[in-house]
Symmetry: C2
Subunit: 168 residues, 2 copies
């Protein structure tokens, strides 16, 4: 391990994507990625518990030094906001219990960091994730690729802050 591990998270009650990258120097490297999924047939409380334990297991497996989580997009409706909020709540909690305080990034910010402009499509973000990590193909499922985009955004943001002397 040459550098710090960063955990990226794309929150959702049905499926939360996660991606771990290692950052040593300027080039990020893929360590692992996947999704924690829950069944709509289970009660909400069981789903949140499964999500929490799934994210906890990822944190315990990789001990990331930092985490980043996607913020809600503006176009969501109230019901979606409440559901994503509940998922975010247990995910942020799983991180906080291990002393990690996840940074939040809007989709606009993630697209700017990964692709270079905020109006990029989801497909363009995924192609850039593949290219930046030197992979043969786009990671699957989509939520895992999105989570890697969040992790790359955080690495980019930290590098920019270091250059500007904000910290680090």
């Amino acid at each position: 391990m040459g550098g710090d591990l960063i955990l990226g998270l794309d929150p959702g009650t049905a499926a939360t994507g996660w991606g771990i990258i290692e950052v040593a120097g300027s080039r990020p490297r893929l360590v692992d990625c996947g999704t924690v999924t829950t069944s709509a047939r289970d009660p909400e409380s069981e789903r949140l518990l499964a999500l929490y334990r799934g994210v906890q297991a990822v944190i315990d497996d990789y001990s990331p030094a930092a985490a980043a989580i996607e913020e809600l997009f503006g176009g969501a409706n109230l019901k979606a906001a409440l559901s994503v909020g509940q998922a975010r709540g247990v995910i942020i909690l799983a991180c906080a219990e291990r002393g990690i305080h996840p940074a939040g990034y809007t989709p606009l910010r993630i697209k700017q960091a990964v692709v270079g402009y905020g109006q990029a499509s989801k497909g363009q973000v995924q192609q850039m994730v593949k290219s930046l990590l030197g992979l043969d193909r786009v990671p699957r499922p989509d939520h895992a690729a999105d989570a890697l985009g969040v992790a790359i955004c955080h690495a980019h943001s930290r590098r920019t802050e270091a250059k500007l002397g904000i910290h680090g």
Copy 2:
């Protein structure tokens, strides 16, 4: 202890109200109530952790047999929905970890159960909480009184279901 304890919850990141009632026969009795508060000066992750641990402590102190939580009201904006969602997420998780799956009730449903009509004011709900629990004054702070209203609503709903033979 003659009957089951019910935990009512009024979720919020800044302040979550909780109230425990005992139901033996048709008349509910106040056991305890209070709030778990968090400071806006702390990071979001610390606040959710504090909220989670606060609710966990209440559950461990009283071992309620059931829990009920207020659902989001329709008039909320996206930011509020996300914030309440995050609070709900960690509260529901704290319950689920102890094998309790909280029932959700809308403000309309709570007002109907406690006061008798859905357009009741917050003040009317609190006066009825005082009266139904046979108290000298309205419980304070407001969030604790609201949480007791949620618990009373759940007791009422269970009783109605039992009468209708839905279960129990």
